[in-house]
Structure formats: structure tokens, C-alpha cells
């Protein structure tokens, strides 16, 4: 046994040494993913630090990823190795909550097919292998499925003196609301850019805040006028039939496994953008209305309605050596349990659907993040987050770790992140999540004696893209 351990240790050392040697030997110009190979530019041209976009990165995305030369093999890869540690990782029964903590694990690896197809068509498809997917027994298994995807057809027209684009317009097909957005104040590419695998999540989140990711197909159109005014309209529907590849790998057969939308659901976005000196500023608003079947496996019942309205802003100062950026968003959601509430009242909830105690609830999420980078290599971020809304014991009931003793969805806290990018495509990061309140309370929030601070989490992660 000791011999095999020594062998495993040696093999690990050799593997680590090989990886470091390989990284050291990579020429910087080539050590870049698909878009960098397409444009010949470095990551920093488009990213403050991946995935936060610079002004040029936003234009690249809005241009349908078509700038540069089409690649014969437009592939890229990504992998994350990390260690997670939770302040108190045992529930009230002494059972472990988050699996595989306090040990280095490969959490996920992705393959991207990304880039220009023609001068007017481009996109990216991400396929991710999750090494730590949880099963019903609470263990982890490997699982793969589609991740964020965005395909575009674009057009452009110049102004009369042929010095700039007057109109940049396009169609987008994607599978996660706001993944198509180019400002990092919106949820899909908002901070934190990566999270601890299987981290303890609060009970409540708005629909626009990730609840529909990789479950829906969004087909939308956008215009960007004079690099200053952006307007987008997108319709979301459950990714069925022709669109089913956009949710490949999702469990659509288990009640409560995913959300199922009824028909086409509208999303809108307006933003004003201005750039001056080293600075850029965006102020905007976005929103959507979703009609959801309470139980995803019975798509013939009445639906609940969720109306989200959000405001957001972003400021970036990008120079050498100092770069600092700020993002803010507030998402306000009105929840109309048009179907679930009467069904709950009659004592016959709709399948695995929600059992609200109120006919109408509200939920508001605020997110603020500030980042500083020195030479785009050494970075620190501070984020503050808060979700608060109507108390509803039917939605947020007591339950060990994930429940709420007082029926409140209120959660707040902060995230501190330190980053070091020794190479442009390698990010070493350390995150700390601190909670002031979790599911309604600071102490005994779940009714089983758990404190909000028990969920505080440290996450050390190596994030490599190639």
C-alpha cells in the first residue's frame, strides 16, 4: 500500500512537472484559445481578465466573432482544478454537505468550437465535462453536456464619411438568458466568473439570474447604433425539437429537474455606452417575462408568471499599469403564482411544482463588484450581493442547510477574490465567500441550528484555457 502511495505521489509530481514544463514552453502568442488564434491578438485585447470584456472585446462579440481569419480547426479547451473548503461542511445529522472538499480535484473541463465561419456568421459552442456532478446518493459522478452557446449572423453599415460603423446589427441564437450580452454586469457573465463546485447556494434566485441556463433557446435581434445605443429583443422558449441540442445533457424527464417555459417569452435590453480616454461607461436596463409550467414534466397545466426588470451599470478604466472596473445590477422580479397558488390552496400542488403561501411574491437581487488589476497580471476583486423578497413559508420552508426557518429568502454576503495570471491563459485564483445572512437569518437560519457563516467558503482554483 505504501509502495503504491509513493508511486502515486511520484506520478503526481511528474504530472505536475510535465504540466508546468509544457506551460513554460508554450509560446505566448500561441498559448491562446480559438479567438486569439483567429485574430492573432492576445487575450488582453478582448479581456480585462477572462471573461470580462474590454471595449474591443465587446465589439468583437457584437460583430459575431467574425474579426480575423477563419481557422481550419477552431477549437479551444478549458479546465479547472481546485480545492474547496466550507467553514462547517456537516449538516445537523453529521453528514457531509459538499462532496470532495479539502482536496485538489479536477472540477470541470470544456471544449469550445468557436470562431468565424464567414464574414457575417460566427459563434461559439461550449461542451463541458463536469467531473463533480452529484447523484441522488449524494456522491459525485462524471457528466457532460452543452454549456453556454451563442451563434450569430451580423450586418454592418458605415456612416456617411466612411469613418465608423453607424449600425451594427445581428441575430443571435443562444441557450442562456444574458449570455449574449456584452457587458459583465448582467448575470450570465457577471461576477463571480467561476464558483466552487457544488457550493452551498441560497434558496432564492430570480429567473434571469441563471435559472434557465442551458434549458432554453433564445432567438433574438439586436442593433448597436454609433457604438453608443444598444437595443435587443429576444424570445425564449424551451429548447425542444430543432433547438434540443441547446440543452443536450439536461435531465428533462425528472420532475423538478429543469424549468419548462410555455411558448415564446420576451426579453428586452437597452444600454447606453460611452468611451473616453482610458474609460468606458454603460448604463442600461433589461428585463423579461417568463411563463413557467409548475412541473416541467406536465407541460399542459396553467402557468406561473415571472416578470423581471433590471437596471445595470458598468465602468471600466483600462490602462497600463492600472486597470479598475465596476459593475452593478439590480434585478427585481414579480412572481405571479397564477397556477401554483390556487392548486396549493386546494391541497393539490401541481406535480413537483412550487407550493407558494402567497399568490404574489417579489424578489430583488443586488450585485456590485469592483476589480483592480496591476499590469493585467495581479488582481483583486470585491463583490457584495444581496437577495431579499417576500416572506413565503410555502416556497422557503425549513430544511437542513438549504431551508429557511422563517420563510424568508433574504441572503447577503460578500466575495473577495485574488488573482494571479502568470500567463495570459492561466489564472490562479483564491476566492472567499462570506455570508452575513442566509435564507432569512444570521443564526439558526434553517431551523436546524445552522449559522449563515457556516456556509463561508474558500475556493482555490487553477483555471487554464488553451
Amino acid at each position: 500500500m505504501r509502495h503504491s502511495r509513493a508511486f502515486a505521489y511520484s506520478a503526481g509530481l511528474v504530472a505536475c512537472f510535465s504540466l508546468l514544463t509544457w506551460l513554460a514552453l508554450i509560446d505566448t502568442a500561441r498559448a491562446l484559445p480559438a479567438y486569439a488564434r483567429q485574430t492573432g491578438q492576445a487575450c488582453v485585447a478582448c479581456h480585462v481578465s477572462f471573461p470580462e470584456l474590454t471595449p474591443y472585446g465587446r465589439m468583437f462579440k457584437l460583430s459575431g466573432y467574425t474579426i480575423g481569419k477563419r481557422q481550419e480547426l477552431p477549437l479551444a479547451m478549458m479546465a479547472q482544478f481546485g480545492v474547496t473548503s466550507v467553514s462547517n461542511n456537516k449538516d445537523d445529522q453529521g453528514q457531509k454537505i459538499v462532496p470532495k472538499t479539502n482536496q485538489p480535484v479536477l472540477s470541470a473541463a470544456s471544449v469550445f468550437a468557436a470562431g468565424k465561419i464567414t464574414d457575417n456568421i460566427g459563434g461559439w459552442i461550449q461542451w463541458t465535462y463536469n467531473n463533480l456532478a452529484t447523484n441522488s446518493a449524494g456522491g459525485t459522478v462524471g457528466h457532460s453536456g452543452i454549456d453556454n452557446t451563442d451563434l450569430r449572423i451580423v450586418g454592418r453599415s458605415e456612416n456617411t464619411d466612411q469613418t465608423d460603423m453607424r449600425w451594427l446589427y445581428g441575430l443571435t441564437i443562444h441557450n442562456n438568458p444574458t449570455v449574449q450580452d456584452v457587458w459583465n454586469s448582467t448575470p450570465a457573465f457577471g461576477f463571480p466568473f467561476t464558483v466552487p463546485p457544488n457550493g452551498i447556494g441560497a434558496a432564492a434566485a430570480t429567473m434571469l439570474d441563471g435559472a434557465l441556463a442551458q434549458q432554453v433557446a433564445g432567438v433574438g435581434g439586436y442593433v448597436y447604433w454609433n457604438r453608443s445605443v444598444y437595443v435587443e429583443l429576444t424570445g425564449y422558449q424551451t429548447a425542444d425539437g430543432f433547438f434540443s441540442p441547446l440543452r443536450a445533457g439536461q435531465d428533462i424527464h425528472s420532475p423538478g429537474g429543469v424549468h419548462r417555459l410555455s411558448g415564446v417569452n420576451p426579453y428586452w435590453r437597452v444600454a447606453y455606452n460611452r468611451e473616453w480616454g482610458f474609460n468606458s461607461l454603460m448604463v442600461g436596463a433589461y428585463g423579461a417575462q417568463f411563463r413557467l409550467y409548475p412541473d416541467n414534466t406536465t407541460p399542459f397545466t396553467p402557468t406561473d408568471r415571472f416578470t423581471d426588470i433590471a437596471v445595470d451599470a458598468q465602468f471600466q478604466h483600462i490602462s497600463d499599469p492600472h486597470t479598475y472596473t465596476f459593475q452593478f445590477t439590480r434585478i427585481h422580479e414579480k412572481q405571479d403564482y397564477h397556477a401554483s397558488y390556487p392548486a396549493t390552496l386546494t391541497g393539490s400542488p401541481i406535480g413537483a411544482g412550487p407550493t407558494p403561501a402567497n399568490a404574489h411574491d417579489t424578489l430583488t437581487t443586488d450585485k456590485f463588484k469592483a476589480t483592480y488589476y496591476f499590469r493585467r497580471k495581479y488582481g483583486a476583486s470585491l463583490a457584495l450581493f444581496r437577495t431579499h423578497g417576500t416572506t413565503d413559508a410555502g416556497l422557503y420552508g425549513p430544511g437542513s442547510v438549504g431551508g429557511s426557518a422563517n420563510g424568508s429568502p433574504n441572503t447577503n454576503g460578500y466575495i473577495v477574490e485574488l488573482d494571479y495570471l502568470p500567463l495570459q491563459n492561466l489564472r490562479l485564483m483564491l476566492q472567499y465567500y462570506g455570508y452575513g445572512k442566509f435564507n432569512g437569518s444570521r443564526s439558526n437560519y434553517d431551523g436546524s441550528g445552522r449559522r449563515a457563516s457556516d456556509n463561508n467558503t474558500v475556493f482555490a482554483n487553477v483555471w487554464l484555457v488553451y
Binding site: 505566448t28 502568442a29 486569439a36 485574430t39 492573432g40 491578438q41 492576445a42 488582453v44 485585447a45 471595449p55 474591443y56 465589439m59 468583437f60 460583430s63 474579426i67 480575423g68 481569419k69 454592418r156 458605415e158 456612416n159 464619411d161 466612411q162 469613418t163 465608423d164 460603423m165 468611451e275 473616453w276 480616454g277 482610458f278 483600462i318 490602462s319 497600463d320
Partner: protein, 207 residues
């Protein structure tokens, strides 16, 4: 030789020349169209509309000297410019540009209206003007002797008038560090102090 034969001979000589000239004009026009599209759809993302960039990270190219622009595109492609920004932003983009398009891009930016000056600290500007027009004793040659009395540039010597001050300072440091293949300029400014760089940059930005 009869008159008709002379006429035939003349036509035989002239016709290919006319065709070649027309083909060349057509080729130039095609390159100009491609360059206009490239400049307005791609270059403008960093260098601004018509080369009037707003971010000092990226130089203003409007009204820049045509010969200088062509030389710089070639320098980016060949590695003659090896500062970090050249690698990060321009190396890859310029390798996608052929010589005809490079020349057309240079024509495009050269014909744009010049950038307007941005005022700065008057004391800095005055000191910079003195340095630019008179040099510093026998240590630094007057910049105007190559870049023109109004810093408008001349052929291979770039226009500096109206350029972002931080960009000028950055490039002076890059040239001092021998990261641009510019031995003459390196020799002239090798002893320029950071304060003197700020002065001359403030003056040039104000023009």
C-alpha cells in the same frame, strides 16, 4: 516604315500600357474599398472613427503620414516593433493585411482630418515647445527638424501633432528601451528624461 505601320506599332506599345494602368487603377480602387471597410469596421474599434482614437492606449492615426503608416504595418508584421502592445494588439491583425491593403489603409488614414489639440498644463506645454523647436543644447536635437515645424510629420517621420500624450511618452520609453527598430530616434532621445518626455508630449498633444 509606312505611316500605318508606325500607327500599329504605337497601338501595340500603348495598348498594354493603358490596360495595365486601368488594371492597376482597378486594383487600387479595390484595395481602397477593402481598406475603407477594414478601417471603419475593425481598426475603428481601437483607433476610433477615422483614426481619431479616444483611448491613449491606441494612437490617433488620422492625418498620419502615409509612408510612416506603411512602414509601421511592415514593422508590426516583421517584429520590428516588439513592445508588448505591438504583440498583444497589432502583430496578429497586421499579418492578415497584404501590401496593397496596407498601402490603401495608409492612404485612408492620411486623408482623414487631423486631430484637434487638447490643452494641458501651460508650463509643461511651454517647456515642451522649447524642447521641440530648439532641442536641448547639444544633448537633444530639435524634434521639429524631422517632424516639421508644426509636428505635422514628413514621410517616414510621423505626425505627432494632436497625438495622445500618454502614447507619446510610452513610445519614447519604448524607443529608449530599443523595442522599436528605430536607431536614429533611439540615438536622439536616449538621454531624454521622463520629465522632458512629459513636457514634449504635453506640447504635442496640445497642437
Amino acid at each position: 516604315m509606312t505611316r500605318i505601320n508606325v500607327l500599329h506599332l504605337g497601338i501595340c506599345i500603348l495598348l498594354p500600357c493603358v490596360i495595365a494602368t486601368a488594371a492597376s487603377a482597378q486594383s487600387t480602387a479595390a484595395s481602397d474599398d477593402a481598406a475603407t471597410k477594414l478601417a471603419s469596421q475593425v481598426c475603428s474599434s481601437c483607433h476610433g472613427p477615422g483614426g481619431h482614437s479616444v483611448s491613449p492606449t491606441f494612437p490617433k492615426l488620422a492625418a498620419q503620414q502615409q509612408a510612416y503608416l506603411v512602414a509601421q504595418i511592415q514593422a508590426f508584421k516583421s517584429g520590428g516593433r516588439s513592445e508588448q502592445e505591438a504583440h498583444d494588439y497589432m502583430l496578429g491583425m497586421t499579418t492578415l493585411i497584404d501590401d496593397d491593403t496596407a498601402a490603401a489603409l495608409a492612404r485612408y488614414f492620411a486623408r482623414q482630418s487631423p486631430p484637434h489639440g487638447v490643452s494641458s498644463d501651460p508650463a509643461l506645454v511651454a517647456a515642451g515647445q522649447k524642447l521641440f523647436t530648439q532641442g536641448i543644447g547639444d544633448r537633444v536635437v530639435a524634434c521639429a527638424s524631422c517632424h516639421g515645424d508644426h509636428a505635422q510629420g514628413n514621410g517616414i517621420f510621423p505626425r505627432l501633432a494632436g497625438q495622445h500624450a500618454p502614447y507619446i511618452v510610452r513610445q519614447l520609453k519604448v524607443i529608449q528601451g530599443n523595442l522599436r527598430n528605430s536607431p536614429v530616434m533611439h540615438g536622439i532621445i536616449k538621454n531624454l528624461t521622463p520629465e522632458e518626455m512629459n513636457e514634449v508630449a504635453a506640447y504635442l498633444q496640445s497642437l
